[in-house]
Symmetry: C2
Subunit: 221 residues, 2 copies
């Protein structure tokens, strides 16, 4: 089983490099949004598209076991979106993203948001060719999640603490949560926001703009 | 890959039958709690143990990628608990439960609560020998989850809608959520509760008592 897993990951990693080259060639920033089900990935995307979608030319590649629910919500914002249904599958892999890109055909100088299957475990292992994984954690999930699911928070460059408008109704220790994230990944960046109230969204946009500019630099090579 | 997956599941299913026989022999009801991370499995167990733990002689087998956090919380209630760390693994399988049972050694006429890894995807595929899977969904996760993760809600006999004390602060349509669950699994039972406020816990206990009695009947065969 371990050998086979290594083979599967090696094949995935090669295809991920191909995707990475394609993103560089097209000067497209690809971010891989990962989280538990219901942490607010689609809601974050809806607001982000509304507020900076035309500035950064956003398109979306979404993964879900079943339904086109999220794609319909994204399409309603006017954004280009392709949805991949994974069936019993628990994550997106580089090959699915490769196929999705052919259908989506994102423009040059754009931002591709990959909305992974809601799963805080398996997507940590799969490189899709993205520039960074963004791990979202809603404050309703409890502050111990980075310690309990360390692989995801080690794989991520940014942690977004979401739904902070609900903090007054919860026993959630923000500082303790950030401390646990830094313990498993001392280099992780952390932002707090609510895509419902809008608080904290500006700093998220600044982070995205910074990565977008960096991707364009890297594309020169 | 598909052949291998079938082999893995066939081996798992055989061991699951062995576990099921052991549970019958020991007149022990085994329930497999499955949900996203942070849906409140441990909080539900803490209150359940406090309120009916001695009546039904509860012990707990817990799975997590890392940490003994949940085991420490359960142990603080005075309950027998064994924690299995799965590393990069995304679910408990029948063999892990088998090993866990040797360490836990639950008594005759008891209730074993298996707290699975927080993951709404992969644990759906793995029979552990339990009498029933109980899928928990917190109302902060959004009402479309049964449609988007249908395999889990098809595999479950009971859906617990948790954290309903937060409903006044959310846009969550309870009826729509239950409708989606019934669409993927017309036979699923649904209970609503909050392990924090205590509302709805009585009906959960009645469900558990009914299954406990039924397991004792089946153990006569």
């Amino acid at each position: 089983m371990l050998t086979l897993e290594a083979d599967v990951l090696a094949k995935n990693n090669a295809l991920a490099e191909r995707n990475r080259g394609w993103f560089a060639g097209r000067r497209t920033l690809a971010l891989n949004l990962v989280s538990s089900p219901g942490s607010g990935k689609t809601t974050l995307l809806e607001r982000t598209i509304r507020e900076i979608g035309s500035e950064l030319s956003i398109s979306v590649l979404g993964g879900d076991q079943e339904t086109q629910n999220d794609a319909a919500r994204i399409a309603a914002t006017g954004c280009k979106v392709v949805q991949i249904n994974t069936g019993t599958g628990c994550h997106l892999d580089a090959e699915m993203v490769n196929r999705g890109l052919r259908a989506l055909d994102p423009p040059v100088d754009s931002l591709l948001m990959i909305e992974n299957v809601g799963n805080l475990v398996c997507p940590a292992l799969f490189d899709l060719g993205e520039r960074a994984k963004v791990a979202m954690l809603s404050v309703t999930e409890g502050e111990d999640k980075p310690a309990k699911y360390p692989h995801m928070f080690r794989a991520a460059r940014l942690m977004l603490l979401t739904k902070i408008d609900l903090l007054p109704h919860l026993d959630f220790d923000v500082e303790r949560c950030i401390g646990q994230a830094l313990q498993v990944n001392p280099r992780i960046e952390v932002l707090q926001l609510s895509a419902k109230s809008g608080v904290g969204m500006d700093r998220w946009y600044d982070w995205v703009r910074k990565e977008w500019a960096a991707q364009r630099q890297d594309s020169m090579v």
